[in-house]
């Protein structure tokens, strides 16, 4: 029996993996298992504790886990399966196992090219003339993330994640801040880390932490839950000096809610999708709700599973996508529609993309279609920015690509 790899062994020693008593709550909770998929966190923990995790590398489901951490919420022994699966994937990847990589591996290729390449990206074309930013140094760094790449890769989804980016900068401007926005950003590396590609993740981490250190920023704000998680939890070993404060945009807005003075932009009933990285991984569940409640004319109705029990968007860090992911997404959209909300508000571009993809389902379009906006767009509209008008169900039925 080959001993566990160093990374897995370290995780076993520092954590509570061996505390697992096989109760099976993790699998019972797992959205994939509940949708009918074969994924069993319990079985993987058991294999790891018996030193047989390499069997998993040959199997099907190591890269299927959504890493949504719902199992960790329920686990009575605090085994920490989500952290374990990341370490298992690192070992598997270093030993030659590769995830399925949906979309032709395009996302992974982009990230790896940013990690090792020597190009000057064109990341700032979205910056319109009305947005005030600093190119070099400043106290606040707005971390854009890769929304421009998403919009270029998925034009048919019409998600326009860049609108959330623009709204975020506009909101910071309205709070008197001209953030540093840099064209030298590279992908934060979140997906490479969760796909097991530690080497390229570290290249990106080193570059990005140096970039922000050179800007002198004391605060980094981002609209992407995955970027924030990565910066706050995974970048820790890489900061050259004192780490800056890392905030999700909603945390920042909640702190400054008193200065915002939003106006009602009509009456709107909304529901909110908790990104798994924001609520469960980071514990940031209340600030987005505080922000929504501060908007006059906006009524927040929670979905059946909200906050720490919220269902993840099943994107799975681009390592895998199948009919079970689609079932999870469809179920989530049904919950959203059941609230009677006009709008589904998100705080992560990934949630927006994956749920929009599910809405293109040929047989279900009408039943699960709902307008989506990033929370920044909603706040921006309440402060005089581009209005958010829900076009209602009739327009949704005429969505491009929706089949009759």
């Amino acid at each position: 029996m080959t001993p566990s790899s160093a990374v897995v062994q370290a995780y076993k020693v520092q954590g509570h993996v061996s505390a697992c008593y096989d109760c099976g709550k993790c699998t019972a909770t797992c959205p994939i298992a509940r949708a009918g998929g074969e994924h069993s966190p319990r079985r993987q923990v058991l294999a790891t504790n018996m030193g047989q995790e390499r069997e998993l590398f040959r199997g099907d489901t190591l890269f299927h886990c959504l890493t949504c951490s719902l199992c960790d919420q329920r686990c009575p022994a605090q085994v920490g399966y989500t952290g374990l699966v990341q370490k298992l994937r690192e070992t598997a990847y270093s030993e030659g196992a590769e995830p399925d990589c949906p979309h032709g591996g395009a996302l992974q290729s982009l990230m790896r090219m940013m990690a090792t390449g020597d190009t000057r990206q064109n990341r700032l074309e979205w910056l319109s003339a009305d947005l005030k930013t600093e190119p070099g140094t400043g106290d606040v760094f707005y971390w854009t993330g890769c929304t421009m790449y998403f919009d270029a890769l998925f034009p048919e989804l019409q998600v326009e994640t860049l609108n959330g980016t623009r709204s975020a900068v506009r909101l910071l401007n309205k709070l008197g801040i001209a953030p540093v926005v840099s064209g030298s950003e590279r992908c934060c590396g979140h997906d490479l880390l969760w796909n097991g590609d530690r080497k390229n993740f570290e290249l990106l981490a080193k570059h990005n932490t140096r970039l922000v250190a050179e800007s002198g920023a004391k605060t980094v704000i981002s609209s992407c839950a995955e970027c924030v998680r990565t910066w706050r939890l995974d970048y820790e070993p890489f900061f050259p000096g004192k780490p800056p404060q890392i905030l999700h945009l909603t945390e920042f807005l909640a702190q400054h809610a008193a200065e915002l003075k939003p106006k009602a932009d009509g009456r709107l009933r909304v529901t909110y999708q908790d990104p798994c990285r924001l609520c469960r991984h980071l514990g940031v569940c209340d600030p987005p709700r505080q922000v929504l409640k501060a908007l006059p004319g906006v009524e927040l109705v929670e979905m059946r599973h909200a906050g720490a029990s919220a269902t993840c968007c099943a994107g799975g860090t681009w390592s895998h996508c199948d009919r079970f992911a689609k079932r999870i997404q469809v179920e989530r959209l049904r919950e959203a529609r059941a609230t009677g909300a006009d709008l589904l508000v998100t705080a992560c571009p990934k949630c927006r993309i994956h749920l929009a993809c599910a809405m293109k389902g040929p047989n279900l379009g009408r039943e699960i279609g709902i307008e989506m906006r990033d929370i920044a767009e909603l706040v921006d509209a309440a402060l005089g920015g581009p209005p958010v008008r829900s076009k209602g169900a009739a327009a949704l039925n005429k969505r491009e690509g929706a089949h009759e």
Binding site: G105, A106, R112, M113, D118, L153, L203
Partner: protein
């Protein structure tokens, strides 16, 4: 390119004629038209630049941006996608899909900061051996002008380019 010992100076092969670097080009060719066109070029003994490798696909419409990006990620200096002329696609509208896919690919390349001349979309039919050779020659020359892909570090980052940090990977 191995040097045979020269008996006199005039017998010495022109070793300086070959440059140190030749383009690494990947060609995605559709089975029904372009791959056959490449074959026609070969059968007709038409001389053309050899610095490419062909990957046969059933239809150019299959070429998702991920394929082109992966070729570039692994060090291709240029990628050529070739399919049937409009109206001739074996699967009716596959080449139209190829255009949609290629548009997305071009946008991604531009965002990455790669020169757009490194990727090219062409329509070459099975009979057009000469055209295949011509496109290969033109594209090879174009890539020669653009130089080796900036994605593979062979040297320290050039002055004026974005600071590379510690991520130099010299192949």
């Amino acid at each position: 390119m191995s040097a045979t010992p020269a008996t006199t100076a005039s017998d010495a092969p022109a070793l300086t004629a070959s440059p140190a670097w030749n383009p690494n080009i990947v060609v995605f060719a559709c089975n029904w038209c372009s791959y056959a066109g490449a074959d026609t070029a070969g059968v007709s003994r038409i001389q053309h630049q050899p610095h490419f490798r062909t990957i046969r696909v059933m239809c150019s419409g299959r070429i998702h941006p991920g394929f082109v990006l992966r070729a570039l990620q692994h060090g291709a200096d240029g990628v050529l996608v070739s399919g049937c002329h409009f109206g001739d696609c074996h699967y009716m509208f596959g080449n139209h899909r190829a255009v949609e896919q290629f548009d997305r690919t071009k946008n991604l390349i531009r965002l990455l900061g790669l020169e757009e001349g490194r990727i090219r979309l062409e329509w070459i039919s099975a009979a057009e051996g000469a055209r295949f050779a011509q496109v290969i020659n033109e594209f090879t020359e174009q890539i020669r002008t653009l130089g080796p892909t900036p994605l593979v570090r062979r040297h320290a980052p050039a002055e004026g380019r974005e600071k590379g940090g510690d991520s130099a990977t010299v192949r």
